[in-house]
Every structure is written in structure tokens, then in C-alpha cells.
Amino acid sequence: MDTEEIYREMANSIVSLDQEKAVHLANQALDESMDLLQVIEKGFGEGIRKVGDLWDEGEFFLPELMSGAQIMEKAVDIITPGLQSSGSERQSSGKVLLATIEGDIHSIGKTIVATMLKANGFQVVDLGTDVKAEKIVDEAIKGDIDIIGVSTLLTTTMVNQKKVIDLLNQKNIRNKFKVIFGGAPVTQGWVDECGADGYAENAVESVKLVKELIQ
């Protein structure tokens, strides 16, 4: 099997949601000392892009999108130590911090977004649910974060999203971070009112938004 064919197999393992095969191919790449950056870019990465296309075309649904992203993550996890020991590193698309805001314990939307971002090469720090604005800002500073994503499902806790922006302004560090909001009640009007940088309607859109903002 030539290298190009192995890359195709890797991509196919993601598209066919075949975790066993993806894990096997990732280990094979290590064993055979393949160019691991290319393995991610031309192999598995091509697969996750295809999964995104199939989603856009209406062929794939959320469970398939999530599974594809998780298999991608597994394959990358296997390859990463090899990459590091060879002195190279997968280029991070950026660092994103995610949290569901104080008072709200809904996590499903945030979890989907985190998975999709990771699959697309972003480093994700997920602080979980019911997180105070102060902690979000502290962790963003500590983690050298590029984008802060704050989620809420409840109208009652939506107001706390604004606290994150207010805190950043108070500390005079608003321009150091892009801040995006997520969650069912969030609208462009709310984003504008708070002075946030954007929001997305779904996980795939959120990846596009983050890519745009990080450029």
C-alpha cells in the first residue's frame, strides 16, 4: 500500500466511523515512522473535513458528526506523543476556553462545540458548567487563551454572560480575547448589547466563527 493509499484509508476510517481501523492506522503510522504531520493533515484531517461536507450536504447527522470528531481525536491522541518526540508539533489552530455560565448546568451544546473544535485542530479548555465569570476570566488569562466561549441555555442566566465582558473591560484586557456566546436564547441583539464578538447557531457554524475570529 503506498503512502497516498494509507492516507485515503485514514480518511475513510473517519468517514466510515470505524474507530478500530483509525486506531490501527494511527499506530501503523507510528510503527512505520510516517510523516505524522502529513498523517494528520492528509489522512485523518481529510476524513474530518469530509465528515463536515457530509453534514453540510445533509447526509450526516449529529451522532455521526460527534463520532467522527471523537475518532479523529483518538487518532490524534495516539499520534501526538510521536509528533512531540520527533520535535515537530501539530500546528494549533488556536486556544479556545469554553464554559457554561454561572447558574446554568446545561452542557450538551458546549460539549458538541468542544468536540468539533478539537477535531478541527483547536486546543480546547473546557471549564464545565455553572462557572463564575471571574473564574472564566482568570483561566483565560492563565491559559493564554485566544477565544472565550460562554454558553447558556436559560434566559435567567443569560445576564451572567455579560459579566464576562464587563470583567474583561474592568481589567482593561478586553482586546486580548475574542468572546463568543452560545445557547438557545442568544441572539445577535444580545451579542451586540453585551459587546461580544459573535455567536453561532450550531457546532459546525461555531467552528467557522472561531476560524474567522482567530485570523
Partner: protein
């Protein structure tokens, strides 16, 4: 009631038992996360094993607690008259609650509601014959955020006599809302005996009761005010994809609520409600108009009936963004299925877009649907036989039956009379009145309804008392 009460059932006794047994086992083995200190104390006092706020509730405690709550609840109107009977297969409708948007019928735009919108909404619900309860259906943005829960109750009490389904957004608000309710009763005891409002309490799937929602159950139980448990598993996302798995999870989450409420006070009134949904696997949304969502609702309510509790469901909603054909078909199917299940409190009329947007136009169309459903569940009446023969004998003399005594006597009982929103006129009449859609005809009805005086005028002193409380709490730090 008719010869038979029309029914739909999805579960048989064997499966209800299986679901119940598994739900109790889940509570015992997986436990439930309780984030409220008061509830934790209550559970610890009766020796419930726990670890990191997860309480492993023994099934015998669940079964014991199920013996306490009342099997039926009568709701009273603002003036203290019995109004709703949450028991057996009786059905009542109330508007879908807590929408964060309103579809402005004048502009066709979806926007954030204002206090004035909620006043209009409440005044209209007051006039609707088939929607017997109010709900605090809009979250309006022109009061302080901290007042957004109790201020809606204040407004509802000011503008309508009907019982209310409501809820808190902050723990501090329950006592304010209790004070508002007490303006309509002589004492706490009177309010307990003649409940005027139901408080929704929503556990978080899977298997978690937040601080706020648990405190609402506790505050309500202490005062013998009805709590309505709104467990909302999302199939395939935070609940099993299988309908039966979601029903089982709903049962476990709701049973935890039963235990909390009954540990606070034996016999505290509770309603077995829910707002489950399947997840739309394309959009990641929670379609309330999905047929599978309705199937879970039915299964949940059947479990409530199995446990001898009054029932509730969010049905008669639509995910459409405007009152169009989709809105009609989803609301119609949901309302009819809820009626056929005999769900005591059906929350949903007016609601669009996954419980996020209220539309008065849809509300008025749904009022027609509710009327039809109520007629349907009455079934076919037997007025004595022969059923037709004698009447047909008389036809030969008159060549018509319109003036027949039986017609005159029974046509108002046999037939549901829709408002002009439903087009039953001839095509020519329809054309001559502008060829309007039902949505447009509903829009025309709005002003007619608003022009009517309230069903019952609010007593002036009570009105003053409500205003005083509202002003106090708006201006004080206790908002």
C-alpha cells in the same frame, strides 16, 4: 361523558411496572445529584446514602413517598372559585410558558417581549373559552432582570381571574410570589386550601436537581402549593435515544421530585409533568412538534397515571417560526394526542420555535384546536334508543330536521362552535371578506377580544395591594 372516553395508550401495565421498577433502581444505584442544601439535609435525615451530593434513594423510600401526595388537585381562580380539576382523564389547557420572544402580529417580526405585550397576552387568555388557565407565558425585558419572574405573576393577577402556571427564576422570588398570591386569599391556610398557582420545577437531565428548582419544590411543599415537575430528557443527547429509555429517565427524575416534596411535607400536592424532546439530529434542536416527542409525553403521562398523580405535558406546541401549516399540524396533533391521553394540564397553546416564542395569532388558532379536542374527548353520547329511527320517521313530514325538537335540544351539546377564525363559510363569502388565511382572521380577532371587559373585574382594594407590593419590591433591594 360519552359511551367511551376516547383514549390513546402506548404502554401496557406490564411495561409501566417495568419502567417504574427500573426507574426506582436507577435512583438507588446511579442516584440523583441534588445541589440544594435543604434537600440534602432532608435526605440525610432519613438516611439516604450519598456521595458528592449524589443521593442513592432506596426504592422503599420512593414507594413510601408515593403513598402521600393527593391523587387530584382542584385549582381555584383569583376570586376563590373552583376552576380546574386535575384528576382522572380531565383535560385543561394553558399557554406555553416563559417565552423569551414574541411574534409581533402587527409587524410580523420576532422580537423581545415588553410588559405591555404580556398585559395584552394575559387579557386575551382571560377571554379564551378553551384555555382555562393562565401561564406566565412571556419573559419581558423592560423590568429589572431580578424581577422577571415575580412581576409576571403580579401582572397575571392584575389582568385575569384564571388560575396560573408559573415558576421562579431566583430562589428569593418564591416568597415574593407567595405574598402576591396571598393578596387573593385570606391566609396561608386559605391559599393552601384554594390553590391559585402551580409552580413549575425543572430537574436537569440526566438525574440532576439544581439548587433553584429544588428550592422551589421545597418552598411550595411547605405551603402546600402545587409543584409541577418538568423533567425534560433530550433523547439521544442527555437521555437514551430510545423512547422507552427516555420515559424511564423521566420517571426516575420525577420520582426524585416526589421524594423531595414529600420529605418536606407529607401530602404536598404535586403534578407529574414534563417537557421531554427528542433531539433533531441535523439541527441540534429540541423539536416539541416531533411525533416522537409527543410519544414520550404520552408515555410519561401514562406513568403519572400509573402512580395515581395528576399529570401535565408540554404539548400543542410547534417548532414553526410563524403560525403556518406546520404550526397547525403540530399543535393540532399534540393537543389531540394529549387530550386522548387524558393529560390534566396541557401547556403549549401559542408557542412556536421550541418553546421560545409566543404568538397571539397562534394562541387564538390553538384555542380552536383546544375546543375541538375537548369536544372529541367527550366522545359519542347516548341519549337513549332508538338512536335515529324515530327522528327519521319525522323527516317524512317536514323534509328537514333543523327544526326537529331533538336538533334544537341537542345541537349545542353535540357540536363545537368555532370562532370565525376557522373558515366554514362558503367560498364566495370567504372571497367577499378578503380571502383571508386563518392567521389573518386570528389577527382580526385580537382587537375584538381586547375590547371586551375582563371576565371578572379585580377588586379595587386587592388591585391596590398588588400594586403596592410590586412597587415595594421593584424599588427595594429585595427585588
Amino acid at each position: 361523558m360519552g359511551i367511551l372516553r376516547p383514549k390513546v395508550t402506548l404502554l401496557n401495565e406490564e411495561y409501566k411496572k417495568k419502567i417504574f421498577e427500573e426507574a426506582t433502581h436507577i435512583l438507588e444505584s446511579l442516584g440523583v445529584l441534588i445541589e440544594n442544601k435543604n434537600a440534602e439535609t432532608l435526605l440525610k435525615e432519613v438516611g439516604v446514602p450519598n456521595q458528592n451530593q449524589r443521593y442513592f434513594i432506596p426504592s422503599d423510600l420512593v414507594k413510601k413517598c408515593l403513598t402521600y401526595p393527593p391523587h387530584e388537585i382542584t385549582m381555584y381562580d383569583r376570586e376563590g372559585n373552583p376552576n380546574l380539576f386535575l384528576k382522572e382523564d380531565k383535560i385543561h389547557f394553558d399557554p406555553g410558558s416563559a417565552a423569551i420572544f414574541i411574534l409581533d402580529e402587527k409587524t410580523g417580526e420576532i422580537r423581545e417581549p415588553l410588559h405591555q405585550d404580556f398585559i395584552r397576552f394575559t387579557q386575551i387568555v382571560d377571554q379564551l373559552a378553551n384555555i382555562e388557565a393562565q401561564s406566565t407565558s412571556l419573559v419581558y425585558s423592560d423590568v429589572p432582570k431580578d424581577a422577571q419572574d415575580w412581576h409576571r405573576l403580579y401582572t397575571t393577577l392584575k389582568y385575569s381571574r384564571k388560575p396560573i402556571v408559573t415558576g421562579t427564576f431566583r430562589k428569593e422570588s418564591f416568597s415574593i410570589m407567595n405574598e402576591l398570591l396571598l393578596t387573593c386569599r385570606t391566609s396561608e391556610k386559605d391559599l393552601a386550601e384554594k390553590p391559585l398557582a402551580i409552580f413549575d420545577a425543572c430537574p436537569s437531565p440526566p438525574l440532576s436537581w439544581s439548587d433553584l428548582t429544588t428550592q422551589s419544590v421545597i418552598d411550595a411543599a411547605e405551603r402546600m402549593i402545587p409543584s409541577e415537575f418538568i423533567s425534560m430528557p433530550m433523547s439521544g443527547a442527555n437521555a437514551p435515544i430510545t423512547l422507552i429509555g427516555s420515559i424511564t429517565q423521566h420517571c426516575a427524575e420525577s420520582l426524585a421530585g416526589v421524594v423531595i416534596s414529600q420529605l418536606v411535607k407529607k401530602g404536598a400536592p404535586i403534578i407529574w409533568g414534563g417537557s421531554p424532546a427528542v433531539m433533531d439530529m441535523k439541527h441540534g434542536t429540541t423539536p416539541m412538534g416531533a411525533i416522537e416527542t409527543m410519544m414520550i409525553d404520552i408515555g410519561d403521562a401514562e406513568m403519572g397515571k400509573f402512580l395515581n398523580l395528576p399529570t401535565h405535558a408540554y404539548m400543542s406546541l410547534s417548532d414553526s417560526k410563524i403560525p403556518d401549516a406546520q404550526a397547525g399540524l403540530e399543535a393540532g396533533m399534540g393537543a389531540l394526542l394529549a387530550g386522548l391521553t387524558g393529560i390534566n394540564m396541557i401547556s403549549g397553546p401559542g408557542m412556536l420555535d421550541f418553546e421560545s416564542c409566543q404568538s397571539i395569532e397562534k394562541l387564538l388558532i390553538d384555542n380552536e384546536i383546544a375546543g375541538m379536542v375537548k369536544r372529541f374527548v367527550e366522545g359519542i353520547h347516548d341519549y337513549g334508543s332508538p338512536f335515529a329511527e324515530d327522528i327519521l320517521k319525522d323527516y317524512d313530514q317536514t323534509n328537514e330536521l333543523l327544526s326537529h325538537p331533538s336538533t334544537l335540544q341537542l345541537f349545542r351539546k353535540e357540536l363545537f362552535f368555532p370562532s370565525p377564525i376557522l373558515a366554514r363559510m362558503t367560498r364566495d363569502q370567504w372571497k367577499s371578506t378578503g380571502s383571508l388565511s386563518s392567521r389573518k382572521r386570528a389577527r382580526l380577532e385580537i382587537n375584538n377580544l381586547l375590547a371586551k371587559p375582563p371576565q371578572v373585574e379585580l377588586d379595587a382594594s386587592r388591585s391596590k395591594e398588588l400594586d403596592k407590593l410590586s412597587s415595594e419590591y421593584l424599588s427595594s433591594g429585595k427585588k
